[in-house]
């Protein structure tokens, strides 16, 4: 094992291969507060990529209700149980992960600490949908965080900086593209050992019994190569998603939308950073959920992220609020953004203007009785 730097842990860690970061790293921010679990993303992916034989059960994109939703069943709980002592040391300037990652706790004979779901575990992709974390009793009043809560967690492959799928494959059939950091399974080389399925803690590699190979999310690389965001991003009804490029923290640029949200404002956080993969899908945590739960899922930055997110609206943080307005505004990948007064502009990889949005959507109030047309409006569509 090599020693590599994992900034999400605030320390070095062991990994199967030496550190080798791509020229550019695909990354995404999902705003959990806006997801309505419509599953349009799931279907957009399904119809684009996984309509073939053996892919019937596969959802490269899925949306599950937390705390009781999982696809596959118990994917996170199972590993959390196996991985003990997930402590963060917060005494210094930056939190440092004091527990061990799935690479550091690999048992004898294994490359990573992993497990493989049974086939039944994939049989209920929307189990736990809209199930609340607790009962609502008489006399309960509305407060934040909610005492009974749930939220929707949309998930794709994290195109990790230190992919466990890649580390676990004894054949080197999985590779991380140097040009964009997208992680792919070489369909010509894979021999279907399912070691990647075992290794990926997020269970985002799937075995196809008809082709005999493992398959996974490809971040719609043919679109990304053309500067376009993946299907699950552009079809998202809630406009919760933004795809782009992330820099290392010390090279973060304020005018890079992803860098701004992840590194500068730190409101978007990785999913289970303690696993040690440096995943590249970042989540704006749900603001109504007790942070005792979300801290385990998104790391120790949750409280600050929620505070900053809330302030963006209530205290006129126009940069942050403006940037959030760029989500779902264009199909193009935005690698730069600016705010000029009330106007926020996104620029594509070529530096051309891709989209322009207002800081505040104009509000039109229409009277119930329209004098011009002499009609009364009713409040239904």
């Amino acid at each position: 094992m090599a020693r590599v730097n994992n900034w999400q842990l605030g320390r070095e860690m062991s990994y199967w291969y030496p550190e080798s970061r791509p020229d550019k790293q695909f990354a995404a921010v999902f705003d959990i507060n806006k997801c309505i679990a419509c599953q349009t993303c799931t279907l957009a992916c399904k119809t684009t990529w996984t309509s073939g034989k053996g892919q019937e059960y596969m959802l490269w994109n899925n949306v599950e209700t937390k705390p009781y939703g999982f696809y596959p069943l118990g994917w996170d709980l199972k590993l959390l149980e196996m991985l003990d002592g997930q402590k963060w040391d917060q005494s210094g300037e930056k939190p440092v992960y004091g527990g061990s990652t799935i690479f550091e706790s690999a048992p004898a004979g294994e490359r990573v600490l992993g497990w493989r779901p049974e086939e039944e575990d994939y049989a209920y992709p929307n189990v736990g949908e809209d199930d609340c974390a607790g009962q609502i009793d008489g006399g309960t009043s509305f407060q934040m965080p909610h005492m009974a809560w749930f939220y929707y967690l949309a998930r794709i492959c994290n195109h990790c900086t230190y992919p466990a799928c890649l580390a676990a494959c004894p054949r080197g059939s999985i590779y991380k593209r140097p040009e964009d950091g997208i992680v792919l399974v070489d369909q010509g080389r894979c021999r279907g050992y399912q070691e990647c399925v075992r290794g990926c803690p997020y269970k985002k590699v799937f075995f196809n019994p008809m082709s005999g190979t493992s398959e996974k999310c490809i971040a719609c690389y043919p679109k990304m190569e053309q500067g376009l965001q993946p299907q699950c991003f552009v079809n998202c009804i809630g406009k919760i998603r933004m795809a782009g490029w992330i820099s290392k923290p010390e090279e973060a640029r304020e005018d890079n939308p992803i860098d701004y949200l992840v590194h500068v404002r730190k409101i978007a956080l990785p999913l289970f950073p303690q696993f040690g993969l440096e995943p590249n899908v970042y989540y704006i945590p749900p603001i109504h959920v007790p942070t005792s739960f979300t801290r385990q899922m998104f790391g120790p930055g949750v409280d600050d992220a929620i505070a900053a997110y809330k302030k963006a609206m209530s205290e006129g943080d126009d940069d942050l609020a403006g940037l959030l307005g760029l989500f779902g505004s264009t199909e193009e990948v935005m690698s730069r953004w600016t705010r000029n007064g009330e106007t926020i502009t996104g620029f594509n990889d070529k530096g051309e203007e891709a989209v322009r949005v207002p800081l505040r959507e104009p509000v039109n109030i229409r009277p119930a009785y329209d004098k011009l047309y002499q009609i009364t409006r009713v409040n239904c569509p």
Partner: protein, 286 residues
């Protein structure tokens, strides 16, 4: 299908009966390929019982990660014959269950025969060879056998109750144009498009491969064939491949074997294997 089923049952019974009433010669320290034989791919053929067999002890693959940590199959019984051009190996081992259905967390019974590509004094590492010391591997799998025996290339062969809403390549509009339909089907099966037929349509249950060390397995021209049947106690498999170049009654080579039990989740590097065992040719009765 019915005839095929009957045939398989007859074969299984034949193997069982033969196994029960045999009295065979053991070759304790080498695999002997008896010369001048008419090659058969039938594991139940009577000829096998007149040939000496080698009980090859299997050991854990515990050299490279991922390793097999718990021993499973103890021994594989190997019998061999040659007609001067090809050599046939009959492998038989104990396995309680028949695992020939692929799926998530479902693995396949299989076995493999490995020989050095060149007959040299310095043999390659027995664990998949090494740099510039290539090994040739012929690999048999139970799911490929099922396909060759007639399993249909549909998801319902694996999950009989599966229902599929729609495959784009089955669209009405494509039915009149088989070429366009075939292209569309491949679009949703990249592994097959790249010629990686790990499962799906195939004519042989055996695959030929080369390796120069762990993790380097590469498919090569198909020269081997074979056939496997489930016996009451396990599997009996015949693998037929070209006779190694340079081998003769005077000069032998080396051979190694591996066995995977699907029910024990053995796959790839997680296997039971042997080290190198001498392989010699012998004339009948000598």
């Amino acid at each position: 299908m019915k005839t095929l089923f009957k045939l398989t049952v007859v074969c299984m019974i034949a193997v069982a009966v033969l196994a029960a009433c045999r009295s065979r010669t053991i070759s304790p320290s080498e695999v002997v390929a008896v010369t001048g034989q008419t090659i058969t791919d039938d594991p139940a053929a009577g000829v096998w019982w007149g040939l000496p067999y080698h009980p090859a002890k299997l050991i854990l693959q515990d050299l490279v990660e991922p390793r097999l940590m718990e021993p499973s199959t103890q021994e594989v019984e190997v019998t061999a014959m040659t007609d001067g051009k090809t050599v046939a190996f009959r492998l038989e081992w104990i396995d309680d269950s028949q695992d020939d259905l692929p799926g998530p967390q479902k693995f396949i019974d299989g076995c493999a025969v490995q020989l050095p590509q060149k007959m040299e004094t310095n043999v390659p590492a027995p664990q998949m060879g090494e740099d510039a010391k290539t090994v040739e591997i012929a690999y048999w799998r139970a799911d490929w056998q099922a396909i060759v025996d007639g399993r249909v290339d549909e998801i319902t062969s694996l999950y009989p109750n599966a229902s599929v809403d729609h495959y784009p390549f089955r669209a009405e509009s494509l039915k009149k144009d088989p070429k366009a339909q075939g292209e569309m089907e491949q679009r949703y099966a990249p592994a097959r498009r790249l010629g990686n037929s790990r499962s799906g349509p195939r004519k042989q249950p055996v695959e030929d491969m080369l390796a120069e060390g762990p993790g380097t397995l590469t498919r090569t021209n198909a020269v081997s064939r074979g056939r496997g049947v489930k016996t009451p106690k396990g599997w009996a498999v015949v693998i037929i491949r070209p006779l190694p170049e340079g081998i003769s009654v005077q000069k032998g080579t080396n051979i190694a074997f591996a066995v995977w039990q699907g029910a024990r989740r053995e796959t790839g590097a997680r296997k039971m294997r042997t080290g190198w065992i001498p392989l010699i040719l012998k004339e009948p009765g000598k």
